[in-house]
């Protein structure tokens, strides 16, 4: 089974009102290329969480998202934004914590921690992406420039007996 190679890049202001439109577009775009509605829904969920984080923590205009879809059915999502150095360090700590635990343990641990937190930042999104969508989550930083790019990589589905 294979899909079409495709990519798309969007650049917009860090404004919450874009979210439903971006989520909907991503879902439709991936469904066309890869013909898998559940996978498209999972990736749209991941994109939504990544953009919400970018909007919440961005300290200036310009959130950029890039989707790369391979013919082998892997998908990479990259969300780029600017953020204060303290927020970048918080993200590094959070990703280290999440990626050093099994996905379910990390997600449940964040749920328990967020239940005790009084602020409106859930810090659940990245653990949610890793557990619920199976994506590999990482980030690239340029602290001097105050830039961060969060990456979610979705592996192609395992081949079925029919597809071998």
């Amino acid at each position: 089974m294979s899909g079409h190679r495709a990519s798309v890049e969007m650049d917009f202001q860090p404004n919450w009102t874009y979210l439903p439109a971006v989520r909907s577009f991503v879902k439709e775009f991936i469904t066309v290329s890869h013909a898998d509605k559940k996978k498209a829904e999972a990736i749209a969920l991941a994109v939504n969480e990544m953009i919400e984080n970018a909007i919440k923590y961005s300290d200036r205009e310009g959130v950029r998202i890039r989707l790369d879809l391979s013919a082998a059915l892997s998908v990479t999502v990259a969300v780029h934004n600017h953020a204060a150095a303290a927020e970048i360090r918080n993200l590094q700590t959070l990703l280290d914590e999440i990626n050093h635990q099994p996905p379910l343990d990390a997600y449940l641990g964040r749920m328990q921690a967020t239940g005790e937190s009084k602020d409106n930042k859930s810090s659940l999104g990245l653990a949610r992406i890793r557990y619920e969508t199976g994506a590999k989550v990482s980030a690239e930083y340029n602290e001097q420039e105050g830039e961060v790019t969060v990456l979610a990589e979705f592996e192609p589905p395992a081949p079925t007996e029919e597809g071998r």
């Binding site: 829904e41 939504n48 409106n120 859930s122």
Partner: protein, 127 residues
């Protein structure tokens, strides 16, 4: 406030309605994707929580099957509600019967994990 006075709330693209059939049932529909659901929806859920305790209701059905999306801030809101139940003495707690659509990606992946926060008082059933 009584449960009968908490029939409906809308916030952003979400609608929550509460009605009594065989049991009290809270139905979520639309999408919970606002920046901070704790501002509008959580106070409503906590009113429902207080009314359930006052009226000594042992079971609430919560139907998510028509809710097409919930962001992680929405999950945080549900976690806050579950923690309110968890903080009660065991004999005072009520149970949640969560109705979900197994074909929905977010429902089939998020709700079983939420259940782990209070497994003796949350059950999951297919819509």
């Amino acid at each position: 406030m009584r449960l009968a006075d908490l029939a409906l709330i809308t916030a952003g693209r979400a609608v929550l309605s509460l009605a009594h059939h065989d049991n009290w049932r809270l139905v979520f529909s639309g999408e919970v994707d606002m920046r901070d659901p704790s501002e509008e929806l959580l106070p409503y859920l906590l009113e429902v929580h207080r009314a359930l305790l006052e009226e000594k209701i042992a079971l609430l059905e919560v139907d998510f099957s028509a809710l097409t999306f919930m962001n992680s801030s929405g999950l945080k809101m549900l976690i806050s509600w579950i923690m309110e139940i968890k903080d009660l003495p065991a004999e005072a707690r009520y149970s949640l019967r969560v109705i979900h659509d197994p074909e929905s990606v977010w429902q089939s992946s998020s709700l079983p994990v939420l259940r782990k926060l209070l497994p003796d008082h949350i059950s999951l059933v297919d819509s």
